[in-house]
Amino acid sequence: MSTAAVHSLWTIAADPIPRIDAPKIEYGQLSPVLIVVGAAIVGMLIEAFVPRRARYYAQVFVSVVALCASFAAVVALAAQGYGTTKAHIAAMGAVAVDGPALFLQGTILLAALVGLFTFAERRLDPAAHGNRVDSFAAQASSVPGSDSEKAAVKAGLTTTEVFPLLLFAVAGLLVFPAANDLLALFVALEVLSLPLYLLCALARRRRLMSQEAAVKYFLLGAFASAFTLFGIALLYGYAGSVSYAAIAQVVDGNVPHITPALANTMGNDALLLIGAAMVVMGLLFKVGAVPFHMWTPDVYQGAPTPVTGFMAAATKVAAFGALLRLLYVVLPGMRWDWRPVMWAVAIVTMLVGAIVAITQTDIKRLLAYSSIAHAGFILAGVIATSRDGVSSVLFYLAAYSFVTIGAFAVVTLVRDAGGEATHLSGWAGLGRRSPLVAAVFAVFLLAFAGIPLTSGFTGKFAVFRAAAEGGAVPLVVIGVIASAVAAFFYIRVIVLMFFSEPRPEGPTVAVPSPLTMAAIAVGVVATVVLGVAPQYFLDLANQAGVFVR
């Protein structure tokens, strides 16, 4: 390395840097996120200072209040027209406040609230030594089956840290779809991921599987985010900026003033293409699209079921939000490059998800694969690259998240001696034992299968229509075939529940507290309402269908 080069490097670095004026933050418009983060911090303080006995209640209280307040804030913003007319970019271009962002944030918050209920459920497990327990490990640090764990259980310890963790994750999820520059995107990604990694490890039963799930999720997640980051780096290198708007300008080739360096990198499409591909890949990992889906079944199976439900719903929503924004705001200029690729991804995802699910024997894995297939369907809507496409995806996400949480909530109810009986054979004849629960689960399955008069059908119709109008008819046909295949295994479960003889030693259905009941009820109501009278929500999604640039 020549000294000249070094010297020049130093001299440039030593140049007086243009002074940075204090950032201008629109606290009002960021309030949803801020509230949640604040609540999370409060939660940590509670962990630190509130006596153990009261923690659970304090945490639940704080979390519920925070989520409700945050949701109220979102509604308020939307009411003030930030979703449509006054949509603009806040926090020095870091965060967008526009229709899609608010819609998805609202969805995430509701999903989080419902998920919170399942987190807080303490009736399902038999009380250990007289104190109610939830579905999280008494003491995460203690080795499974060790004396310390027994002691912890005996002492009635509970991991109330899950609530602040949940809130942090929610904060990340809220920023993710709203992130308007690559930095915010990356930070949000990590903020939402890290708490989830931890939550996955905290199951009370089957802790080995839980920990394994956490490790897999963590390693693969970190791996993926490394790719994302590298992609970010390349994009930055290509455009010389991390803000979506700027990059978009460069991609479209209409930049106000071109510096020589920029002119140099702009010419190099490889930077753009590789970078875009890697960032997209990171997002596809989060939504669980083939071939980045493989973590999904294991993690869904191993994680505590409430976490799985929350994760399956909220993460998908946020990740698709981010994906939409990236593709619609940053990369519309290179539509013709990424659309064919996404076509391929969508097709493979639909087919693999549907086909592999057929032979699953564990209900949670089954739902995992079904979520993969659904990711494929949603991608079909993403590809439409039209306002209808956006709104259809938004609607689908909203519909899907409630069905998912509801379904996993039902899964928590079917239990035997070893905790939840997730093996399908245990579900035989459930319809005989407790028709109501079976019927509710059947409703969810039918929604997954996209049977008319359920939210699943409305959503599926919306995305397929958008795709068809976007000229992706073959995609629609394949999607239709995939849903036919998918229908088979949903039906299989229904057959199992209603038409096969119950096993004498089969699992029983625990009677939950109002919390889980609420979660399930919300799921059912959402499923039916969005199926029978979806007009209002479709309008909502349609108004919210425009990204601010």
């Binding site: 005989r432 008319p452 036919a484 096969s500 007009q535 479709l538």
Partner: protein
């Protein structure tokens, strides 16, 4: 805004379903009576429709139209033409009888948990099914139709899979697995068809920008909506496939025998007499109206398939050992006639086909229900297990014979009228196919009479020697249907008067006119 009669007709059974399902487990009989009451109420409403409908009037009457899902351009649009009226009448008429016939079919064998309420479920499901079927007959919005066309699979699925021939299954563990196989097969076949149709529905919207049948048909007629030939044909195929599965048309028929064989007789009647009619009805209303050119393009193939169905179904019926399977294949043969009549594109053919839907509903109901009574007595579906029933249960045998004669469409019974109309209608345009189809007449005589001979005549087998004759309840079920069969056989005019105008309009939609008699043509 007058009283929404059509909505009410569909809503009443829906409400009934909920109410029946809500009846506590112990009060089985109450649930039955409640359900029966609701179905009779529906029948009354259907009768009002029949009265209020003016054959000479507008094409779609008693119309209702409300915005539903504006985002998809979907409206809640109802309206009935003559064809729909006839079929709604059939549906509303059959359901009460079906309920009576299945009065005890859903009484639980073993008591599951306290909350296990099969009886309530059975009757509630039937009512739910009725509501959906009626709505699909009323819908004049393609999307609305599709929704119920698909949704009706669910209640029927549970009816098939949940309730089998109790008598037949006593002591047979394999039966329940066979049953769920049949149910799944039924659902997957129809779901697949429906999903293909979904793609076509979406395609239609992309092309036409509307779901309203009347609007699209209008636009097609005045040429403001043109479809590329290829597009139209693909869309047609998408729709037709779904309807052909439902109908069922060879070679998409294999789900029907399993479904009818495994389900109880009343449910089997619902499948073949009511639900399958939605398929043929939809061909007539949607395929022809929306895609006239494609329909005429497809006619030859469809006719050949229909012909195959007729002969093939009949031959297979001859080869069956299981009573219900036999009737199922007979139905396949009859559906061949219906589809043939629809696509013959003559007013005789299409009026005949519509009439056929009604008559076949009645005749199959009689035959299948009595077969059900027979099976419930002996506890076997195998023809070989019977013999000489006529001696011990003359009334049962007599009514069964009438049902058989109706099935082989003997003049004087309703099916003859429709079958002959279909044949003539086909013959005037496609003589060869018409003649080939008459073979079906002979084969029909073969399988029905063989069935009757093997089960009812000959020396009395000792298993049936103690068989009781028809009970009052059963007679109440069968007698009115038989009377109706005879009446419509001798005086079908009331129905034809309702149907003909609608058929004429359909004919004009596909730009078809009846061929002139050669003598006139020559002049």
């Amino acid at each position: 805004m007058s009283f929404p009669l059509l909505t009410a007709t569909a809503a009443l059974p829906a409400v009934g379903a909920v109410a029946t399902a809500a009846v506590p487990a112990a009060r089985r009989t109450a649930a039955k009576w409640l359900a029966l009451a609701f179905s009779l109420g529906t029948l009354a409403l259907a009768a009002t429709i029949l009265v209020r409908f003016d054959p000479g009037g507008a094409r779609y009457q008693l119309t209702e139209s409300h915005s539903w899902i504006a985002a998809f351009g979907v409206r809640y649009e109802l309206g009935v033409d003559g064809i729909a009226v006839a079929l709604i009448g059939l549906t509303a008429l059959l359901v009460p009888f079906v309920m009576l016939a299945g009065w005890h079919d859903a009484d639980p064998l073993e008591t599951g948990s306290r909350r296990w309420r099969p009886t309530q479920g059975f009757f509630a499901l039937i009512l739910a099914l009725e509501a959906m079927v009626i709505l699909s007959f009323e819908a004049t919005d393609v999307f609305l139709f599709y929704i119920f066309f698909e949704a009706m699979l669910i209640p029927l699925y549970f009816l098939i899979g949940g309730f089998g021939d109790r008598a037949h299954e006593r002591g047979e563990k394999a039966a329940s697995t066979q049953r769920s196989y049949a149910a799944v097969k039924f659902l997957l076949y129809n779901l697949a068809g429906g999903l293909i149709m979904l793609a076509a529905v979406i395609g239609l919207y992309v092309v036409a920008g509307s779901f309203s049948l009347t609007e699209i048909a209008q636009a097609r007629a005045d040429g403001s909506l043109r479809m590329a030939t290829g597009v139209e044909r693909w869309l047609f195929l998408g729709f037709f496939f779904a309807f052909a599965v439902k109908a069922p048309l060879w070679p998409l028929h294999t789900w029907l025998p399993n479904a009818m064989q495994e389900s109880t007789a009343p449910v089997a009647v619902l499948i073949t007499a009511v639900v399958d009619k939605v398929g043929t009805f939809a061909m007539l209303r949607f395929c022809l109206q929306l895609f006239p050119e494609a329909s005429t393009w497809a006619t030859p193939v469809v006719l050949v398939l229909a012909l195959i169905s007729i002969i093939y179904g009949a031959l297979l019926a001859v080869g069956q050992r299981d009573i219900k399977r036999l009737i199922a294949y007979a139905s396949i043969s009859h559906f061949g006639f219906i589809i043939m009549g629809i696509f013959a594109m003559t007013s005789q053919g299409q009026s005949g086909a519509t009439l056929y839907m009604v008559n076949h509903g009645l005749s199959t109901a009689v035959l299948m229900l009595i077969a059900g009574f027979l099976i419930s007595r002996r506890g076997s579906r195998l023809i070989a297990d019977y013999g000489g029933v006529q001696k011990v249960a003359p009334v049962l045998a007599g009514t069964f014979l009438i049902g058989s004669l109706a099935t082989l469409s003997l003049p004087g019974l309703a099916p003859f009228v429709s079958e002959f109309l279909v044949l003539v209608g086909t013959f005037t345009r496609y003589p060869a196919i018409g003649i080939a189809a008459t073979l079906g007449i002979v084969l029909a005589a073969l399988y029905t009479l063989v069935l009757y001979q093997r089960t009812m005549t000959g020396p009395v087998r000792k298993e049936v020697s103690a068989m009781p004759d028809l009970r009052v309840r059963e007679l109440v079920v069968v007698a009115p249907l038989i009377v109706l069969l005879i009446f419509l056989g001798v005086y079908p005019k009331p129905v034809t008067d309702i149907v003909n105008p609608a058929v004429q309009q359909t004919m004009s939609d596909v730009h078809q006119t009846d061929p002139k008699p050669e003598v006139e043509a020559a002049k």
